[in-house]
Symmetry: none
Subunit: 133 residues, 4 copies
């Protein structure tokens, strides 16, 4: 992960949010789950600075999108009872894998503020930019 | 619990993970739920340092395997609403009892990083080593 | 505070860090102390995502620069004993006041990663940009 | 950082503690501050699982030994008021740099349980092993 690309991913997510009519926060973290870049749109909720980095951290920590994690943590699900003060387990967090090199996860993007579908759409746009880089 | 045995339990869990094709973290805690030994395999997810000790702590705290605890914490279950920032309530944590002496719990092993079934298999191998000691 | 200006402040701080030969993280928060924008330079320490937002939060919370706060929190100082898990009480955080309107604090910038003097210089550049806006 | 080397570092620290007549905990973390290996000697205090990883995290986060950080955080020191729930700012944590490659910090070792001098001695032995690897 590097700042220049992280910034472009944030911008792409914010632009997509504009198209969706959503007000979001977006976070990009490195392989250790530590923040590299963050942007909150004007008027977006104050939960964003907690939830967007939380989704990104969760996606790195479990190497799966938080949308895929969501059904596993419901009552009776395989990971119900997952705990940790940085976990956010619904859609909007997507891990970023190094191309080629056995898909090592090297970061993640997390989006929060819209509906879950909007958050996912914004995170996917940012991810596409990563994959094209 | 002692360090020498805890290390052998960690090694046994890591070896089993190799057989399972899983990348895990393994933690052994004492009767107070405090870490004695921890090992994270190369390439295992960064959630392991939170979840493996969490499962081991939970197994000591409730004197039951986290797999047995899982159905009790679902909505309507006997322990629904269980809270605490170190609880992890799905399979992979197993308490260790003193043989003979009324089965006093003196520690636990916790494994995280594979599927729940893999985590449990790795924790059971470590537990067997404890019981044979 | 708004995202467009926050981004320009971050860029200005990063540019100044380049001139200083420092690797920094920079955070801009709103009147509620909540993150609006954050950037961590390539190679900057992982403490940045904790300390830069912490300094910015502290500057908003006390409506003074963290450099001015520093002498007040030493033993015997007026605010000795100040506690809170988001406080960072040394130079690098500067509050941003609304011009004219009785200087209401509407946000802050926080910088971390260089020496304290470098952090302050980077935060001041960002603040100047705010004041000129 | 890798598990095999981390384990050897832990063993070296424990062996040194034996020579010092100290009972310690030792932690090795990766570049993100996340635990790779941990060992607590029989009879070592229960604070070790918090303090040894804390010192290692702090050494990574600030890229300096916690012994060097200690004088900076005293009242009036440059970093007095440093906050964060994982910081431990006295001797016993040492960062590990990649040789050659501009000394990028790729992990750290943290030791706790003896006197500060003993903790430092144990951490240095482990660090020497890293540097010789």
């Amino acid at each position: 992960m590097n700042l220049e690309l992280a910034l472009r991913m944030c911008e792409a997510a914010v632009k997509q949010a504009g198209r969706e009519g959503a007000l979001i926060s977006v976070a990009v973290v490195d392989a250790g789950g530590h923040l590299v870049a963050f942007q909150r749109m004007d008027g977006a909720e104050i939960a964003g600075p907690v939830l967007a980095p939380g989704k990104a951290y969760t996606a790195v920590a479990h190497r799966m999108s938080t949308a895929d994690l969501a059904p596993l943590v419901v009552p009776g699900g395989e990971l119900y009872g997952l705990a940790g003060d940085r976990y956010v387990c619904f859609g909007g967090g997507i891990p970023l894998s190094e191309p080629g090199k056995d898909h090592r996860v090297v970061g993640a993007v997390g989006v929060s503020g819209g509906t879950v579908a909007q958050d996912v759409a914004c995170a996917e746009i940012a991810t596409a930019l990563w994959e094209g880089a």
